[in-house]
Amino acid sequence: MKKLFRNKLTVFGAGIILFLLIVAIFAPQISRYDPTYIDIKEALLRPSAEHLLGTDSLGRDLFSRMVYAARIALLIGFVAVGLAAVIGVILGSVAGYFGGKIDSLIMRFADIMLCFPRFFLILAVIAVVGPNIFNVMIIIGLTGWMGMARLIRAEILSLKIRDYVSASRALGASDVFIITRHLIPNGIGPVLVSFVFGVAGAILTEAGLSFLGLGVQPPNPSWGNILMEGKAVLGVAWWVILFPGLAILITVLAFNLVGEGLRDSLNPKQG
């Protein structure tokens, strides 16, 4: 932990994530307006004291929309990757621990999943099941577990021959006990790193989907669909496209910085 926060960039990234979390949790208190309240008379106002980030083409307060969008971005990021991590850790540890046919079956399935270009797979599935926040989360989760499964499997392959595992078995421990008490706690490090990077990826994916109109549906705000709406008025209202763009950039950067720091702190080869 100490090592993790010695890196200044990591602390910077963690600070941004903390800030975003606070914004997301207290979104109703922070925003002055209803993010979906339309007032055509107020359309495309420049940023001012009244509307901190201006208004969009339907006269909605952009600041409020950005704040609520942060909520959705983080929710989708964490839930989707959380789902991926749970699936990945379970399948990966089962594959690594039992080996043999079970291992081949699970890992070949993972290989097949990895063959599909992920974004297009998500697009295709969304097109079938219909775009909404819940579906987006589930699908990003279901298509993102393979890397984590590989990571934990590799860890468990080397951990399962440690003497403390044999000792535990000699004490009568079940397979589930050994996997959950010894193997996963010792092998989870790389998965945590992958989790943090994964959140950044999921936020980007969600923004991309929403930009294409297949993610969060209007009038609900998402950085992606604000961007899409901003594209239409780019010539007259730069603020509608600038702020969500910056928000995505900074958020992804923050998660990547923390992921980077976490990876270095878990790598024993670096001092």
Binding site: R162, D163, Y164, S166, A167, S168, R169, A170, L171, G172, A173, S174, F177, R181, H182, P185, N186, G271
Partner: protein, 518 residues
């Protein structure tokens, strides 16, 4: 005077903390002599050796003092000057023959490299010289070894290759850092003979670093005893060994295991047996090749019969690969035998009847668990309530002499000996009848080793435990065992009482093992 070291100090800085590894030592090595540097792990012996070769990391490490070799101070020489000395006039042989050779280069190429680094000769000449070096280190078929990759060589062969590289330039000083510690006893004595022979042939001096007074006795002319980064005693070998002055040296010498030929306890008729094994067999199949076409069958345990009486110790002796660890794992049920049967006096093998303690106290404890959770793991598995666990914890920690106050600490906060006590406590917590001890003291320093052995004897007496004591060290086995089984290539070649094995060994392999004990 070949080498003179004056007031050598080495410090490491880690997380702002300064650690003195070597704290002002002076010594000298004359031409043609073997100086033994003895000490426990952490005493600074390897660091001293590395500093002579200037192989210490430059980061976080400061060295001061003089290292005068042939009249020149290496401490203030630049990298180029050092390189002309390192690997030619001073060379080194390391402990681990498995990691000190490059796995992707043939053994011969590596010897050739060592020659090329200091002399410009043709490839052909270098090859001829390498072969003759391999002959010099008494390798029976040098041409095969020359073309082999390291993983195809045995530990002894690798160490010979290392030595061939070290003597390639006819060094004045050879630093041998525990060169035989990782080897089997019979090979160990061969390597020591070889080093002594080469020392005579090449007129070189040797700085021999070891923790083992048995080796010192065999090879050294003079001895330096290192403790906590300081030389606390020095002198001629016979003086140190027969009349040590310092308490620490005395303690170290006393802790060295020796074969004493002390008479064992006589077996009484009517003693109940704790474990009986009949015709145990275990073969491992190793698949090779891309399409798993090649099969390698290794018969790890073959037709093993044994019986251990309650409260007794069976010592299982053998070199690496003899199948002794596999036998232990079969007895406890961690491996299933291909054929044969095992009967216990108590019904179940697992969960209480029989437990195991491993060699390496670093990998046998889960690094992410607290000491109390490790010790109580068996009870957690069987769902024992909190109060019961608490009382067992107090009780078992008392038995193995561990401080109850340390129960919340993690394994890395304990020393090797303490960790081994934790491993023993974990086994004892479920109140077993039989303990499999798989090299329980092999990775510990001698003083700690003695403490753990005494603890085990104490526990056996008090709780009538039955031990299967697996070890490569005949001296330790004599101290512990009532009966001894000698294993070679998966078979028990001789099984008899301790007295018979040590006083009148029958099988030639047993004789050979005994004769190579120092």
């Amino acid at each position: 005077m070949l080498l003179k070291i004056k007031n050598l100090k080495i410090q490491f800085t880690h997380d702002g903390k300064v650690m003195k590894a070597v704290d002002g030592i002076d010594f000298e090595i004359k031409e043609n002599e073997v100086v033994g540097l003895v000490g426990e792990s952490g005493s600074g012996k390897t660091v001293t050796a590395l500093s002579i070769m200037k192989l210490l990391p430059t980061k976080d490490c400061t060295t001061s003092g003089e290292i005068i070799f042939e009249g020149k101070d290496l401490a203030i020489s630049n990298e180029k000057e050092i390189r002309s000395v390192r690997g030619s006039k001073i060379t080194m042989v390391f402990q681990e023959p498995f990691t000190s050779l490059n796995p992707v280069m043939r053994a011969g190429e590596q010897i050739r490299e060592a020659i090329f680094a200091h002399r410009k000769i043709s490839k052909k000449e270098a090859e001829e010289k390498s072969i003759s070096l391999l002959e010099k280190v008494k390798i029976s078929d040098p041409h095969r070894i020359y073309d082999s990759y390291p993983h195809l060589l045995s530990g002894g062969e690798r160490q010979r290759v290392m030595i061939a590289m070290a003597i390639a330039m006819r060094p004045k000083l050879l630093i041998a850092d525990e060169p035989t510690t990782a080897l089997d006893v019979t090979i160990q004595s061969e390597i020591l003979e070889l080093l002594l022979g080469l020392k005579k042939d090449l007129n070189m001096s040797v700085l021999f670093i070891t923790h083992d007074f048995g080796i010192i006795n065999k090879v050294a002319d003079r001895v330096l005893v290192l403790n906590g980064g300081k030389i606390i005693e020095r002198g001629e070998k016979k003086d140190i060994l027969s009349a040590p002055k310092e308490d620490y040296t005395k303690k170290l010498l006393l802790a060295v295991p020796k074969i004493t030929f002390a008479p064992g306890k006589k077996e009484m008729p009517g003693e109940k047996s704790a474990i009986t094994a009949e015709k145990l067999n275990k073969t491992f199949i190793i698949e090779n090749g891309i399409f798993k076409k090649d099969e390698n069958r290794v018969c790890a345990v073959r037709d093993v019969n044994l019986e251990i009486k309650k409260g007794r110790t069976l010592g299982v002796v053998g070199e690496s690969g003899s199948g002794k660890t596999t036998l232990g794992k079969l007895l406890i049920g961690l491996l299933k035998p291909d054929s044969g049967s095992i009967r216990y006096s108590r019904k179940t093998a697992f969960a209480s009847g029989i437990q195991i303690v491993f060699q390496d106290p670093y990998s046998s404890l889960d690094p992410r668990m607290r000491m109390q959770d490790i010790v109580l793991e068996g009870l957690t598995i069987s769902g024992v309530n909190k109060e019961k666990k608490e009382s067992v914890l107090r009780d078992v920690l008392f038995k193995v002499h561990l401080n109850y106050k340390n129960r919340m600490k993690y394994p890395h906060q304990f020393s090797g000996g303490q960790r081994q006590r934790i491993a023993i406590a974990r086994a004892l917590a479920v109140n077993p009848e039989i303990l499999i001890l798989d090299e329980p003291v092999s990775s510990l320093d001698v003083i700690i080793q003695k403490e753990i052995l005494n603890l085990l004897r104490e526990l056996q007496k008090e709780f009538c435990l039955t031990y299967v004591f697996i070890s490569h060290d005949l001296r330790v086995v004599e101290y512990m065992a009532d009966n001894v089984a000698v294993m070679q290539k998966g078979e028990i070649v001789e099984l008899a009482s301790r007295d018979e094995i040590y006083r009148s060994p029958k099988h030639p392999y047993t004789k050979r093992l005994l004769s190579s004990v120092l």
